[in-house]
C-alpha cells in the first residue's frame, strides 16, 4: 500500500511542478545595438558635453559592442550654425567649448556612426524665477539610534509657464568639504505661482555645517528622464520595470536643457 501511495504522490508532484523549459522560438524585435547619447545643455555654460555609447543587445549576441570613437560624428546646430563636437579622451566625452546659447534657442543634435544616425532636439530653457526661504530644520531619531536632519524650505515658482519643471539638488558640507548628497526624489512640477514646502534629507547624524541647494529649471525631457533614472534600479520581483524616457530618434538617450541657480545656507548652528 505504501508503495502505491509513493507512486501516486510522486506522480502528483511531477504533475504539479513539471515545467518545460526551452529556448523561446520567437522573434525579438529591435535586437540590434543602438547609439546612446546624453547631453544637458544650459545657456549658462559655454561648453556642450555629450556622452555617446552603444547599447548591448541582451539576446543572441556574443559579447559587448565597443564603440570606435574616431568614427563618431557629433554635431549640435542652432540658428544655422553647426558646432562640431570633438572627443576628449580623458573624460570619454564629446565636447565643444565655444558655444553661446540663449533661452528660446532651438538646438538640433545629429550623431552618426558607421551609417547609423540619431537625432534629437531641445529648446534652451529660461532661468528659474523663484522665492526661496529656509524654514529651519528638525531632527528625526529612529529606533536604531540613527539621527537625521530634515531641512525645510519654502519655494514659490514665478516662472511664466503653466507647468514648470524644477529640480532641487542638494549637497551637505562639513568644514567646506563635501559630505553627502540628497539622492531622493528631487523633481517637482510647479504651476505658475505655486508654493511648496520642501523637505531635504541626507544630513546624516547632523554633522554638516552648510548646504547648497541647486535650483534647476529644466525642460520636460530632462524632468521625465531623471524621474525614470532615479527609479531605474531593480526593486524586487513584483515591481513593473522602469521604461526609460527617450527623446532620441533612431537611438536611445537624452538631449535636454536646464538652467540652474545656487542657494547656500549655514545649518546646524
Amino acid at each position: 500500500m505504501k508503495t502505491y501511495i509513493y507512486i501516486i504522490a510522486t506522480f502528483l508532484i511531477l504533475v504539479l511542478i513539471s515545467s518545460c523549459e526551452k529556448n523561446a522560438d520567437i522573434e525579438i524585435p529591435d535586437n540590434e545595438p543602438q547609439l546612446v547619447v546624453a547631453a544637458f545643455i544650459s545657456s549658462q555654460n559655454d561648453t556642450i558635453s555629450l556622452k555617446v555609447s552603444m547599447s548591448h543587445p541582451i539576446y543572441y549576441s556574443s559579447g559587448s559592442v565597443q564603440l570606435n570613437y574616431d568614427e563618431v560624428t557629433a554635431v549640435v546646430s542652432s540658428g544655422g550654425i553647426n558646432h562640431n563636437l570633438t572627443f576628449d579622451n580623458h573624460n570619454l566625452t564629446f565636447f565643444s567649448d565655444k558655444v553661446q546659447f540663449n533661452a528660446g534657442d532651438n538646438l538640433k543634435l545629429n550623431v552618426s556612426y558607421r551609417g547609423e544616425k540619431v537625432t534629437s532636439e531641445c529648446t534652451i530653457i529660461t532661468e528659474p524665477v523663484y522665492d526661496f526661504e529656509y524654514l529651519g530644520s528638525e531632527t528625526k531619531t529612529y529606533k536604531d539610534g540613527y539621527s537625521e536632519g530634515i531641512h525645510k524650505f519654502k519655494i514659490t515658482c514665478n516662472n511664466g509657464n503653466d507647468i514648470n519643471y524644477y529640480r532641487l539638488n542638494s549637497n551637505f558640507y562639513m568644514y567646506n568639504y563635501w559630505y553627502s548628497n540628497y539622492y531622493e526624489s528631487d523633481l517637482y512640477e510647479f504651476a505658475k505661482g505655486e508654493t511648496r514646502t520642501i523637505e531635504i534629507r541626507g544630513d546624516h547624524d547632523l554633522q554638516a555645517d552648510s548646504m547648497k541647494v541647486y535650483i534647476i529649471n529644466c525642460d520636460e525631457h530632462y524632468y521625465l528622464y531623471h524621474k525614470n533614472l532615479g527609479n531605474s534600479y531593480e526593486k524586487g520581483p513584483f515591481t513593473e520595470p522602469i521604461i526609460m524616457y527617450n527623446n532620441v530618434e533612431g537611438g536611445l538617450g537624452i538631449f535636454s536643457s536646464y538652467n540652474m541657480q545656487l542657494e547656500k545656507y549655514e545649518i546646524n548652528k
Binding site: N23, F40, T47, Y142, N171, L229, M244
Partner: protein, 787 residues
C-alpha cells in the same frame, strides 16, 4: 433630470395599464424531484409575446386578461408544462418541473426558452451547471470560471489561471457574488482553480455589458451565482475523487417540504500524499506542504407561503506551510489566504405582484504571511496581513404590475473595513507594528429598473442607479444610467443596443497583473477617486430553428477612467525598514490613468441535441494611459488580446458515454521584455559626489539600464491548447449514478509560454531568451458518485 422625470411619469402612468379584467397568476417554480427553486424559468402564453420569468427565488407573477389560455412553463433541461384552461381570477399556481436528462428529446416548446432573439438582455453569459460538468478540465477539476473563459469577451490570466478579464477590464473589475455576498479573491492555488465548487452551485450568470441597474460596484463584469437550496424531499449526496482533490456534498430535508439543507466540501491532498516523501528527503527535521479547502453550506426554512428564510455561507482557505528544525533552531513559515462569506435572507411576498428579499451580508478576505524563528533564547516573528471585511444589508423588490412592466428596485448599504497592509515585527527586545491602519468606509446604493415591453416587438430595460461612497470626510456620489433596447425584426432575429455607466469605489492594487492573493484591496480616498466606465454595445441575435443554433454578434466600446496601478518600481512589498518607523502609504505608490477597450464578439451556440457546444471569437483592442507609466504614452495592458477563439463540443454518444473537447487560441500576452542594456547618463548639477566627473558644471552620473522599448511592447507567443475528455456513466441501484471521467489537458502538448527569462545557451555560447511552459499533456481521472 429628464431621465428622472421620465421614470416618474412612467410610474404614475402604470395604473393606467391595469385593467379591470386583468387577473394575475403567481407562484413558485420548483424542480419536481428535489423541490429546488428554479431561476429564470420562462412562463408565457403560447402563441403570444406575453410572458415573464421566475426571479432569483423561483417566484413568478404573470398578469393577463381573463381568458382561456395555454400557459407554458419551460426551462432548459426540464420537461415543459402546458396549462390549458380558462383563467378568470387571480390564482396561485406552484409548478414542479421534471428534469429531462436527455436534452435531445426536448420538444418544440423547449426550443422557445433558448431563443436569444426575444430576450431583452445582451452581453450576458449563462452556462448551465450541467454543461460545466461535461467540459474537460485540468486534472479533472471542474471549474466554473474556466468555462466562462471559453466565452467571447472573456479571457483568463496566465496558463491555467481562473482569473477573468472581461472586455479589457482587470481582474479587480469583476463583481463576484455568491448568494448576495461579494467574494473578493475567488482563487485557489494562485489562480489555478476558482474557489467555487460546481456541485453546490445552482446558477451562474455573467454580465459583461448592458448591466441592469440592480448591479453595480465594478466596471467590467458581474458574476452572479446562487447556491442550491438543498433537497426538501429526501436525503442524498454526491461524492467525487480526483487527482488533486475530493469533494463531498450532502443534502436533505430538515423538516420535510418545509426546510432543507445542503453542505458541500472539497479538500486537496497533495500535502498528505507528499508528506512521507518530504520527510524521507529531509530526514524528519523538515515538513512543508500546501493544501486548499472550501466549504459551502445553506439551510432554508419556509415560514409560510409568503415568507422564507435562507442562511448560507462559504469558507475557503489556501495554505502553504513549512517547518524546519536543526540543532536548537526552529523556523516556521506559513502563507495563507482565506475567504468567508455569510448571507441571511428573508423572502417576503407582499402580494401576487410584489416580492421582496432582504439580505444581511458578511464577507471577509485576508492574506497573511507569517515567519517565526527561534534560536535558543532569541526569537523573531514577522507577520504581514492585508484584507477587507464587509458588513451590509440589502433589499431588492420585484413588482410586476402588468404584462408590460417588470420592475425591480431596492437599495444596499455596506461597511467596508480595509487593511491594506499591516506588518508586525517582533524580536527579542524590539517590537514594532507598521501600517496597521484600518480604513473604514461606507458604500450605499439605490436603484430602479423596468423591463418594459413598449410594443409587441420592442422591449426596453431602463434603469438608474444611485451610488455613494464615504471615506473619512470625503464623499463620492454618482448617478449611473443604464438602458438596453431590443427590437425583433422577425420572430428569430433581433437587434439590440445598450449603454451602461458604472462606478467602482474599491480598488485592487495588483503588482503582477495576474491576480495574486498579494494584491491589495483599497478604498477610494480624497487622493484616489472612484473608477468609472461607460460602455456602449450594439448587437444582433439570431435563432435558427433547424438545426437548433443561435448566433449572436456584438460590438462594444468601453472607456475607463481613474483606474489605478502601481507606479513603476513600486509594489506591495514596498514598505520601509521596520527600524526606520517610516509608514508606507499605498496612495504614494499608485498612479491614476484611463483606458479603453473595443471589440467584436461572435458566438455560435447549440444547447440541444446530441452535439452541443459553441464557437466563440473575439477581436478586441485594449489600451491604457497613465501619466506616470510608460512616460505618459498609451500602452497595451498585459491582458490585451487581439484574437481569441474557442470551440467547445460535447457529444452524447449514447446514454452511457459523453465525449467532449475544447480548443482555444489566443494572441500572446503583452509584456515588457528587456531587449538591450546600456549606460544611461544623468546630470549631476554640482559635480561633487559624482561617480564620473565631467567638464564644467555639466557632470554625468552613470546608471546601468535596460531598454524595454514601450511598456508591454513585446508579445509572448500565441496560446493554444486542446483538451479532450470522456465520461462513462452508469445507473446503479436505488437511483444512484456513477461517472468515471478521463481527460487529457493540453492533448497535443503545446508548450505555451508561462513566462520568459534570460538564460545562457552553452552550445552557441550566447545569451538567449528562455521560455518556461507550465503544463505539458496532462491526464486526469475522476470518479463521481451520486446517491
Amino acid at each position: 433630470m429628464k431621465y428622472i422625470i421620465t421614470i416618474i411619469i412612467l410610474f404614475l402612468g402604470l395604473s393606467s395599464f391595469s385593467q379591470a379584467k386583468d387577473i394575475t397568476i403567481s407562484g413558485y417554480v420548483r424542480e419536481k424531484a428535489s423541490d429546488e427553486l428554479l431561476i429564470g424559468v420562462n412562463i408565457y402564453i403560447k402563441g403570444t409575446q406575453i410572458g415573464t420569468i421566475s426571479n432569483s427565488y423561483g417566484f413568478y407573477s404573470l398578469t393577463i386578461l381573463a381568458q382561456e389560455a395555454k400557459i407554458v412553463f419551460s426551462y432548459v433541461g426540464y420537461e415543459p408544462i402546458i396549462m390549458a384552461q380558462t383563467f378568470n381570477k387571480d390564482s396561485v399556481i406552484n409548478i414542479y418541473l421534471e428534469s429531462n436528462t436527455d436534452l435531445s428529446e426536448v420538444d418544440v416548446y423547449g426550443n422557445r426558452d433558448e431563443k436569444i432573439a426575444d430576450k431583452a438582455v445582451m452581453s450576458v453569459v449563462s452556462v448551465p451547471v450541467k454543461q460545466v460538468r461535461d467540459i474537460p478540465a485540468l486534472l479533472g477539476e471542474k471549474d466554473v470560471f474556466k468555462v466562462l473563459q471559453l466565452m467571447p469577451g472573456i479571457r483568463g490570466g496566465s496558463e491555467a489561471s481562473s482569473g477573468l478579464y472581461v472586455r479589457g477590464g482587470g481582474p479587480d473589475q469583476n463583481l463576484v457574488i455568491l448568494d448576495d455576498a461579494v467574494v473578493y479573491n475567488a482563487m485557489h492555488l494562485f489562480g489555478f482553480f476558482s474557489v467555487f465548487n460546481g456541485d453546490a452551485i445552482k446558477s451562474i450568470e455573467l454580465y459583461k455589458g448592458g448591466f441592469p441597474a440592480r448591479f453595480g460596484g465594478r466596471l467590467s463584469s458581474v458574476i452572479d451565482m446562487s447556491l442550491k437550496d438543498g433537497n426538501r424531499k429526501e436525503f442524498g449526496g454526491e461524492a467525487s475523487i480526483g487527482l488533486l482533490s475530493s469533494r463531498l456534498l450532502l443534502e436533505g430535508p430538515i423538516i420535510k417540504n418545509k426546510s432543507s439543507f445542503i453542505i458541500s466540501g472539497r479538500r486537496s491532498y497533495v500535502d498528505v500524499l507528499a508528506a512521507p516523501i518530504i520527510a524521507s528527503m529531509e530526514g524528519g527535521g523538515s515538513t512543508a506542504g500546501y493544501y486548499f479547502y472550501d466549504l459551502n453550506a445553506k439551510a432554508n426554512y419556509e415560514i409560510s407561503d409568503k415568507d422564507k428564510l435562507y442562511l448560507s455561507g462559504y469558507f475557503g482557505r489556501d495554505k502553504f506551510y513549512s517547518h524546519d528544525t536543526w540543532e536548537d533552531q526552529t523556523s516556521d513559515s506559513k502563507l495563507f489566504w482565506e475567504n468567508a462569506t455569510g448571507t441571511f435572507r428573508w423572502n417576503h411576498q407582499f402580494s401576487n405582484k410584489l416580492f421582496s428579499n432582504t439580505s444581511f451580508i458578511f464577507s471577509n478576505y485576508q492574506f497573511v504571511i507569517e515567519m517565526e524563528e527561534e534560536d535558543g533564547d532569541d526569537f523573531s516573528h514577522l507577520r504581514y496581513k492585508s484584507g477587507i471585511r464587509d458588513l451590509g444589508i440589502k433589499t431588492d423588490l420585484t413588482w410586476v404590475p402588468n404584462n408590460k412592466h417588470y420592475i425591480r428596485y431596492g437599495g444596499a448599504i455596506t461597511n467596508h473595513l480595509f487593511t491594506p497592509s499591516a506588518i508586525v515585527y517582533e524580536q527579542k527586545g524590539f517590537d514594532t507594528e507598521l501600517n496597521a491602519k484600518e480604513l473604514n468606509s461606507i458604500e450605499t446604493s439605490a436603484y430602479i429598473e423596468d423591463e418594459w415591453k413598449a410594443f409587441n416587438r420592442f422591449k426596453v430595460n431602463m434603469g438608474l442607479r444611485f451610488s455613494n461612497f464615504n471615506y473619512n470626510a470625503k464623499s463620492y456620489f454618482d448617478l449611473e444610467p443604464r438602458i438596453l433596447a431590443s427590437y425583433m425584426l422577425t420572430d428569430l432575429l433581433s437587434i439590440k443596443a445598450s449603454y451602461a455607466q458604472m462606478s467602482q469605489y474599491v480598488h485592487l492594487l495588483t503588482s503582477t497583473g495576474i491576480g495574486l492573493p498579494t494584491d491589495l484591496w483599497v478604498p477610494s480616498t480624497d487622493r484616489v477617486g472612484p473608477q468609472k466606465s461607460k460602455q456602449f454595445a450594439l448587437g444582433m441575435a439570431k435563432d435558427f430553428e433547424d438545426p437548433n443554433f443561435s448566433l449572436s454578434v456584438e460590438a462594444y466600446y468601453k472607456t475607463m477612467t481613474d483606474i489605478i496601478s502601481y507606479k513603476e518600481g513600486a509594489s506591495f512589498m514596498m514598505f520601509d525598514d521596520p527600524t526606520s518607523s517610516e509608514e508606507f502609504n499605498y496612495e504614494d505608490a499608485v498612479t491614476i490613468g484611463k483606458g479603453y477597450s473595443t471589440g467584436i464578439e461572435v458566438l455560435l451556440q447549440r444547447k440541444f441535441g446530441k452535439l452541443t457546444g459553441w464557437i466563440g471569437y473575439t477581436l478586441s483592442l485594449t489600451k491604457y494611459q497613465f501619466d506616470e507609466l510608460n512616460n505618459g504614452k498609451e500602452f497595451f495592458p498585459r491582458h490585451d488580446r487581439r484574437h481569441d477563439f474557442s470551440i467547445v463540443g460535447i457529444y452524447k454518444l449514447n446514454e452511457k458515454i459523453t465525449l467532449s473537447a475544447t480548443w482555444i487560441y489566443g494572441t500572446g500576452d503583452a509584456v515588457s521584455l528587456a531587449k538591450s542594456t546600456y549606460t544611461a547618463y544623468g546630470h549631476n548639477p554640482s559635480g561633487v559626489g559624482s561617480n564620473y566627473p565631467g567638464q564644467g558644471l555639466s557632470y554625468f552620473n552613470s546608471y546601468q539600464t535596460n531598454h524595454y522599448g514601450d511598456k508591454n511592447s513585446f508579445r509572448m507567443a500565441a496560446y493554444h491548447r486542446l483538451d479532450v475528455g470522456a465520461q462513462f456513466k452508469k445507473k446503479l441501484k436505488k437511483g444512484r449514478e456513477r461517472v468515471i471521467e478521463v481527460s487529457l489537458y493540453n492533448a497535443y502538448s503545446r508548450q505555451n509560454p508561462f513566462y520568459y527569462y534570460t538564460g545562457y545557451d552553452h552550445n552557441t555560447k550566447q545569451t538567449v531568451l528562455k521560455q518556461v511552459s507550465l503544463f505539458p499533456i496532462l491526464p486526469g481521472v475522476s470518479y463521481y458518485l451520486k446517491f
